[in-house]
């Protein structure tokens, strides 16, 4: 068995595989399918300060090799989370990454503060990239200043690792990674979903009640891998990569592109038993290629000189 541990700032993960935020409930929903302690981490559904109803259905629609979602960040709010979910996650030995949202900078900070006061939070993932709600922080995530402000603001109020989650809906994602680094982030995670839409041609109405939604799944993987590679070249921060990972080979592609860990979302819907396949697949690969540690794989892409260009 190769050494699958990987480090995200001060946090050491058992392996690089993390349940993606919004695709893994609060983690506990999957305790019957997988031992949460066997995962690298569990990124819980995005949390605001207060409870949220989210958008009316239909909230998802399948698209070629992907899906659109516009859940609208339905959630129980951070206070109920720390009271009702966090203790159980601790008991089960999960490494919990809490994905947080805010309508204002203050809300991000307040949510972060509350989380910092409780045992069992491994890291805070700043959702500044949800494409589905106006006040979902996307106005922060699409502006370099906004990104800098949220990250540095939250940085001040917590000692937990702070991981801004970047949107792919920008011209130059690497610049947002840089802004995050300058603002004191411990890592960056990418990508969130691509803003997209689907139309019912019979009714000529949008298929989602929210009109637009976020595209996820294997369809987006080649774009996400490119963005991870761009960020890897731009910053020293550890990167949590995601976007369409459905097999160990897909995950390895992200590691080679520069991700120190990966999140798996949509594929977990299709196969909630995917996690053991991912770890054993990575282990096999590393042994076959005589790679001792995940760190030796991270960013190991080599680009041949263009022989006949």
């Amino acid at each position: 068995m190769a050494d699958l541990t990987t480090r995200i700032g001060s946090l050491t993960l058992r392996n690089p595989f993390i349940g993606a935020s919004g695709c893994f409930g609060y983690g506990l929903e999957y305790a019957g399918a997988v031992d949460l302690a066997s995962l690298g981490g569990v990124a819980v559904k995005g949390l605001f300060l207060e409870e949220r109803q989210g958008h009316p259905p239909p909230r998802i629609v399948e698209t070629p090799a992907g899906m659109l979602n516009a859940i609208g960040l339905q959630g129980i709010g951070v206070r109920r989370f720390v009271a009702e979910k966090l203790p159980e996650l601790r008991r089960l030995g999960a490494t919990t990454i809490v994905n947080i949202c805010g309508s204002t900078l203050d809300e991000y900070c307040e949510v972060a503060r509350i989380l910092s006061d409780h045992e069992g939070v491994g890291a805070i993932e700043l959702n500044i990239s949800c494409p589905n709600i106006k006040e979902g922080g996307i106005q922060f995530g699409c502006s370099l200043h906004g990104t800098f402000d949220v990250v540095s603001g939250v940085r001040k109020v917590t000692t937990l690792p702070v991981i801004p989650k970047l949107t792919p809906n920008v011209t130059d994602v690497a610049s947002f990674a840089r802004a995050s680094e300058e603002a004191g982030a411990d890592a960056v995670s990418l990508v969130n979903t691509f803003l997209a839409m689907a139309i019912d041609v019979e009714t000529r109405t949008p298929k989602l009640s929210n009109v637009m939604g976020g595209l996820s799944g294997p369809a987006i993987r080649p774009i996400a891998v490119r963005m991870v590679w761009e960020c890897f070249q731009a910053v020293k921060l550890p990167i949590i990569g995601m976007g369409g990972i459905a097999t160990a080979e897909d995950a390895i592609e992200f590691l080679i592109a520069g991700a120190a860990a990966v999140q798996v979302g949509t594929a977990n819907f299709v196969d909630p038993f995917i996690w053991s396949k991912l770890t054993s697949g990575l282990d096999d690969y590393m042994q076959r290629h005589h790679i001792a540690r995940v760190a030796d794989l991270v960013g190991s892409l080599n680009i041949p000189a263009k022989a006949h260009a």
Binding site: C23, P56, P57, R59, I60, E62, M67
Partner: protein
């Protein structure tokens, strides 16, 4: 106990140009399945289609010796996934994840159990009927379809001892018209002191009508809803249904708190989707 089985297709019986019953070898799922529970089906390997499709467990299959061999699905062809299941061949493999969701609560005698099914909405009632028979609960099946040819398994229910109230849109069998007509009649002619538990599955308008009629007559009704489901496990929050909570209402996940709901609790006006 959650299972994911790469089940072999052991039989595919086409009932009509768009209905079929597909038998899947998944004994372990059959063993633990409760009435009205569902499974998430991966109709084909690969990425097209990507997501699983939710299906009620239709029958729990047994061999001659009575031990479980698998489950069957009553499938109606409406799109890509159901078309693949419609044309599946013996020996094909489909992924079966389950059993999932809350089950029907079968009533005990002297209460009567009335099942109201519209079209493919018959699916969850075979397992329910078997549970009711064990308890010796008197059963009625109100069952509506397009025409006689689409009233599948009615005779099976009759053999089990259920009183049949059949309707067809073209009048080719039973009464002409909606299944709610004989139901309303029965509700009106049944003395209040006779305890009756209603169970309904079918098109949303039908279930809504049944819930309304039941409420009007002070009867409870358990409805089996069919929202779009991305995961079936509580992970995605796609399957939410609006239910009354105190004064207000709340979106709850049908895959966890349903698909069986108290019909009176549903905010039907806010129930979008399917």
């Amino acid at each position: 106990m959650l299972l994911d089985v790469a089940a072999e297709v052991t039989a595919n019986t086409q009932l009509s140009p768009d209905y079929n019953v597909i038998a899947l070898s998944a004994p372990d799922i059959a063993r633990v399945a409760q009435p009205g529970q569902f499974v998430m089906i991966r109709t084909q390997p690969g990425l097209d289609p990507l997501l699983r499709r939710p299906f009620s467990i239709f029958e729990r299959l047994r061999d001659a010796s009575g031990s479980f061999t698998g489950v069957s699905l009553l499938n109606k062809r409406v799109g890509v996934g159901t078309s693949l299941l419609f044309s599946a061949r013996q020996g094909d493999r489909v992924g079966v994840l389950g059993p999932l969701g809350r089950a029907f609560v079968p009533v005990d005698p002297p209460a009567e159990a009335w099942m109201v099914a519209g079209g493919v909405g018959l699916a969850p009632f075979v397992t329910l009927a078997e549970a009711l028979v064990e308890r010796g609960t008197p059963m009625r099946l109100f069952y509506g379809a397009r025409s006689a040819a689409d009233l599948y398994y009615a005779d099976w229910f009759e053999r089990l001892g259920a009183a049949l109230h059949l309707t067809t849109e073209d009048g080719s069998r039973g009464d002409r018209g909606r299944v709610t007509l004989p139901l309303l009649h029965a509700l009106e002619t049944t003395p209040a002191q006779q305890h009756v538990a209603l169970y309904a599955c079918g098109p949303t308008p039908m279930m809504r009508a049944v819930a309304g009629a039941a409420e009007h007559h002070g009867r409870s009704v358990a409805v089996s809803l069919e929202p779009v489901m991305g995961c079936g496990m509580g992970g995605c929050y796609s399957c939410v249904v609006p239910v009354r909570r105190g004064a207000g209402r709340q979106f709850v996940r049908a895959c966890l708190e349903g698909p069986i709901f108290d019909g009176q609790a549903i905010v039907w006006d806010a129930l979008g989707g399917h």
